[in-house]
Subunit: 482 residues, 4 copies
Amino acid sequence: MGLLVKGGTVVNHDHTNRADVYCDNGKIISVGTDLDVPPGTEEVEAHGCYVMPGGIDPHTHMQLPFMGTVASEDFYTGTSAALVGGTTMIIDFVIPSPQQSLMEAYETWRGWAEKSVADYSFHVAVTWWDESVSADMGTLVKDHGVNSFKHFMAYKNAIMCADDVLVNSFSRCMELGAIPTVHAENGELVFHLQQKLLKQGITGPEAHPLSRPPMVEGEAANRAIRIAGTLGAPVYLVHVSTKDASDAITYARANGQQVYGEVLAGHLLIDDSVYQNKDWATAAAHVMSPPFRPPEHREALWKSLQSGNLQTTATDHCCFCAEQKAAGKDDFTKIPNGTAGVEDRLTVLWDQGVNTGRLSMNDFVAVTSTNTAKIFNMYPRKGSISPGADADIVIWDPKATKTISAKTHLQNIDFNIFEGMNVTGLPVKTISQGELVWSDGKLNVTKGRGRYINRPSYPPVYEILQKRQALNAPKAVERTAQ
Amino acid sequence: MGLLVKGGTVVNHDHTNRADVYCDNGKIISVGTDLDVPPGTEEVEAHGCYVMPGGIDPHTHMQLPFMGTVASEDFYTGTSAALVGGTTMIIDFVIPSPQQSLMEAYETWRGWAEKSVADYSFHVAVTWWDESVSADMGTLVKDHGVNSFKHFMAYKNAIMCADDVLVNSFSRCMELGAIPTVHAENGELVFHLQQKLLKQGITGPEAHPLSRPPMVEGEAANRAIRIAGTLGAPVYLVHVSTKDASDAITYARANGQQVYGEVLAGHLLIDDSVYQNKDWATAAAHVMSPPFRPPEHREALWKSLQSGNLQTTATDHCCFCAEQKAAGKDDFTKIPNGTAGVEDRLTVLWDQGVNTGRLSMNDFVAVTSTNTAKIFNMYPRKGSISPGADADIVIWDPKATKTISAKTHLQNIDFNIFEGMNVTGLPVKTISQGELVWSDGKLNVTKGRGRYINRPSYPPVYEILQKRQALNAPKAVERTAQ
Amino acid sequence: MGLLVKGGTVVNHDHTNRADVYCDNGKIISVGTDLDVPPGTEEVEAHGCYVMPGGIDPHTHMQLPFMGTVASEDFYTGTSAALVGGTTMIIDFVIPSPQQSLMEAYETWRGWAEKSVADYSFHVAVTWWDESVSADMGTLVKDHGVNSFKHFMAYKNAIMCADDVLVNSFSRCMELGAIPTVHAENGELVFHLQQKLLKQGITGPEAHPLSRPPMVEGEAANRAIRIAGTLGAPVYLVHVSTKDASDAITYARANGQQVYGEVLAGHLLIDDSVYQNKDWATAAAHVMSPPFRPPEHREALWKSLQSGNLQTTATDHCCFCAEQKAAGKDDFTKIPNGTAGVEDRLTVLWDQGVNTGRLSMNDFVAVTSTNTAKIFNMYPRKGSISPGADADIVIWDPKATKTISAKTHLQNIDFNIFEGMNVTGLPVKTISQGELVWSDGKLNVTKGRGRYINRPSYPPVYEILQKRQALNAPKAVERTAQ
Amino acid sequence: MGLLVKGGTVVNHDHTNRADVYCDNGKIISVGTDLDVPPGTEEVEAHGCYVMPGGIDPHTHMQLPFMGTVASEDFYTGTSAALVGGTTMIIDFVIPSPQQSLMEAYETWRGWAEKSVADYSFHVAVTWWDESVSADMGTLVKDHGVNSFKHFMAYKNAIMCADDVLVNSFSRCMELGAIPTVHAENGELVFHLQQKLLKQGITGPEAHPLSRPPMVEGEAANRAIRIAGTLGAPVYLVHVSTKDASDAITYARANGQQVYGEVLAGHLLIDDSVYQNKDWATAAAHVMSPPFRPPEHREALWKSLQSGNLQTTATDHCCFCAEQKAAGKDDFTKIPNGTAGVEDRLTVLWDQGVNTGRLSMNDFVAVTSTNTAKIFNMYPRKGSISPGADADIVIWDPKATKTISAKTHLQNIDFNIFEGMNVTGLPVKTISQGELVWSDGKLNVTKGRGRYINRPSYPPVYEILQKRQALNAPKAVERTAQ
């Protein structure tokens, strides 16, 4: 049975107009006024509301095994919280251990994700290198709908990639039509600073940002970008948190390079004063990498988002509760890194982005949904209110308000980094796969209803990259014998 | 009777897909495969071709009275040449003389334009200031579908605006929801340099670029941008020809300001060596303002177009034949300024933009059509292949080739700045208002079929500008009596 | 009788070394250890102290008639305060009224300055234009030791220069080997915003910064720089107070242009929160143009000073007491613009510059003295501790401390913008023309002992400007008759 | 016996003035007019000439064992050529093999250098890491007058430093008051591209620049700078050859970081078209790393030199004759990397820098001599014409001309990259250690007269670095027990 979103104003990434939206069989069938719909069609009231593509969070870590524990939010609770927050799809990460087969890790994560209630997909991390990794990358792209690979430049002695791995893996991505993504922090510097701080007796959460100053990210961002640029590859930087990294992206884009940057809701709103909190647990609850930054970085990130030099927003949703965080009581390097946000992203971005005139509503749709769909080759199936698209829709009441709190959120974590923030503009209804799953404060989902989304290789960016590669092919100079 | 574009690949600004396009009553009715169309629908073959929104040239001067003569291309011949080149709409300029009523000038131009064969609209120039100008701006916006006003910062002792006029007019634009546009060259400097060069006995066309060096444009671009920024107004810079001006735009955009930049096909392809031509007529044929520039500027313009810091492409199509140019035989300041291009813009941009991997096909559509439609509030009526849009379509054969020449072009001018250029990728068919007007090398139009297009006030950019204005409203500090 | 500064460490702009300094007849005779000095030479103890070139303040307005009143500090009191603060020379401004003869104004100021107790010189303002102004500029340069001319881009309806005056005057400077300087604020925008604010009923000092937002300065700075660049002239921007203007200078310098920027001690230390003060008099006491700025500008100014993109520091010392400021009680545009600082500049810059590691001691000397001497062609007579230089010396105790206050300062004004600031590092002794004039908290001077300093034309920057001018001279293309 | 340079104009980095220079015992005794000199003093005629500090070349490789051969120029011939070219001091490099003791290598190079005829000093390379390297660095700084250490980021599988070595060595430099220097090219990328090109059958010298594109340098420059910045260390980049690397330096300096950049005369004058030469030997003769670059980089380097973002000029003088180059006949990676220039540096820089108005004569002195002396803590002993300085002087005839050629140069190599260049401005006389060693086209030196110059630790830059380090020392947050 179909469903008609009625009376709302449709906001796409490039246009806003008054229109109803008719969905059936999980797809959007038509968009317009005076639509001809079958009798018995369920009506979803949207007067006074904006009707937008459901959010896509390109960066989550549900039930991640990390730093000796496992993230408290699993794929069921996590995708539930996402739907409540208007996010209808996540892209999570498969993270093989060094020497572990990529395929094996991939299958493990696929198994974990089966309980999801919203659509999902996976970036797969390359944490080591040999021929089998290269072969598995091919299999994942060709047979499993993976079109992006993640590289950690931090976490020395664990999953860090040195430059040779980056060079090999980025080159392989080029062969496969995939997007390399990077966590950009210089792991050698982080390691050095961590050891030094511990030696100096600075062991609390306040040492966390000191061990990862902005330049550490700026360096790695630059490195990844130039390696990609040299090879002619695209590159996507996850969780850009500093002016330094954002400037690196801007510089490369201004020079014609194909670089993308993602920014977390948290980095746009919160600064590094949290690590000075006298309460250890509060300070530790904010430990994530990259850390929250001095305020001037926040402003720079907003500006880059406005100017299009950053394109996507995410959360790096990775939940650890107080007792998990306590593992690092005497040593900040042992505090599990991660914060939540999948439920709050859209709301805080609307409040601080749209209500402030930083972003238009169209920009909001672009940075919360459409751009991710485009970059990772799911557009216009995802990220669009248009005929033929998946019926993943958020209905937004710009006048509704609430106060964010861990007490009321659905996320499976005992802390909320946006605690106490009063926001105006809320996702009052969420439609996923054509079903009204969140409405009137009620979530109505069946475990496992979420689908794995295949992402085809060769996203649009390859059109120009391949032309450039052909034009720039090296040529030998013909010389006569001497 | 409807018309079905069949077998092609539709390229919009944000997506490419295989689809047919059904048009009727001048509108696009449906886009997709296996479309249900009425019997008797005319079929337009598009296999192997791209089906794109018709080009919009936001900067033409048909039959402009200027520098003692009148541009040789009129609205009939000019819009004909446009259609042949795949451009289905132009925005021309109403240019009142100082002290002339804006309304009077507007009516004059409307009369001239009635013979057009493609759709058209007008920017109206503000060349002087008093209350009547302010009132006429209101009338034009509210009753005549004008949403943009042009300001010349050059042409001292003629139509140049000093800063007070810019400040008044930009402020008025803000009240009306209109877009101020500027020709950015510092007229005082140009005047000074012209006098100096003439005094030095340098009177040929080679003096033209010397009298308008890049900084002269960089200065004015910066000035217009900062004046707009101070007032909270948007601003659109026509014919950005220098790295200097492009850098000014990039700087402002990176700081969150709403600034747009247009670049001419000529400035992207041709450099200032043309003024050194030993043949006076050839050198003079290239005299336009701003002039062609040293090669490094060209590269900078391409990069800004790629990175989105420039958004639109145009031609400043303004034709003067050899005998008109000869008026400046002994004094370069008397050579009528202008070059042609409305017929060639799409072709040369495809050849040098898309074929080289500088721009994707989607970028091409954006910079030749969609972005102009968005900025000047005609989107998605114009600039889009989607249901409900005007059926203005270009069918592009990426393998077709030709050599550009004044001998074969339709433009009413005896010179072509792209003479001899071999291009690959041509507009083989053009549909305007749902009619196949250009096909198989034949133009099939009736004089006067072109329509004046009303452009509503308050284009999308005002959504955020108005929020910012409200948030930044000045407040008095309350002080107790002392 | 000579004087020997003994036991100190000499700090010049390019080197620091342990040395004594022997002075006689107003000049430095020798610098080194174990100097051979005549018996009876007065010894000035400098153990534990730094011995540096006396400060030069390139921007003061003693007893300036302005906005209906006269600055309270005259040349006698002002130069006295300067000596107490370690500043041994000022460059003040001759400001003719529009239509007033430059020579007449110059003579007037020369008369006022005769009571000075430190050396002084004059920039002369060009506030209007005709042939007599051009002629007087020649006379001043050739016969009166003036090598710099000031241009106000603000103060509409008073002393503001429009672009044609800038173009003419900068060109004339080039002919004469003089340095054009500018007060960079767009006067049209300031006027517009002032009127608007008054209309909105915002009449207090808080309106002052609102009427001169940072872009207003950025615009004018860019304009002046590009006009100079186009003409091949050097340009010196006084009181750069914004990131915007500083970026404009940096951009030009990175492109090979000869541009200089001055920053005021006040702009480096104080932000715009002062205008929100609930006490009208306190807020009004900070009214100067350009105004104090949001904190991010301060940081940008420091960085530009560190990187050499700004070269000099000044005060714009222009004193108005509370009752003078009260003239603008009901209209902020009538508050006399100006603040003091000639006594505090060196101290606050040492405290916030050297003690913080922002500047080296050599940098400190460069930005407080040497660079000004170089730019305005007095080096190494001024700005250097070397044989042959004028014996203008400050002896600095890096450990001495005090709290700045209007209660204890010598400046003839009832307010100190640095009130309450605790500083470490003080000028404990000052030598002017070889005489110990300030020591042990006592000032020992005779009215009128200060000398007018002739500054020769063609400062060093002209070496390269003239070469470039010759190389870039325009050339006609030879064409055969047609 | 003393020596009097008479009649010339002394040009120092900060001032130009007419003066004679009296030298004795290898030192400059006095500078001025009407100097009182002992009878019998030798007079060196300098009328019409400039008298400048002798050049210092901070980057040479005399008799370097490299790539299976040994550089053809040894310390005797090399320093002889230097003197002929007006360069009175070189800083060469001690390059230990991996696992070789730094002290052992240092002693070897000291031995080789004993035959030098001009003063010299050594940077010592850190090519591997363990405690002994750290200890040897201490010994070299404390006991052997070394204050700079070099790091190669290229040359994988040979002397390349990975990030951990950079972090350790830069940290050690900070402890010792030494300057880390880097050869900035990403060795992993170079290696990858070399293998790929060879596989593609592109084996000639044209492959050399393709294997080291500009981004490869930009990446490494950024990395070294950010690593230094994170640690609070200074850093000096040798042979900056790209806009990319220069931009990285400019960015860091604009943000207050202490970064220095050196540029080679060759990179300022020659572009990458040389590698397309049809003659293999000619193309191979230009093989050096980093390679010559596309012309736009050259212009960027000049601008950075003008704006002070690059501070020093060098040659990377490393000579291999045709038969040595031929080792890479079938494999460009085996062509010994290196070109000459120590004899030509001053001349070509004067011709293309001073004669063109790019640099003032003072700038010329700064970038050829003084800045190197300052950065490496030899100023004002070296790099200055002032009493107490070493009497290393070049007497420059700005009107003298010659044509550069391998046929006439003294350098021990059969090729000159500046072959055929006509230059105006020549070093007509050179004084080293107070002796007239080059005059009237004759070199008058005794083997071994050159001295090893100790360079003290803690160059001036450490003044501010140490203050910043103290201010930024990390602090623990005090928290109550929980």
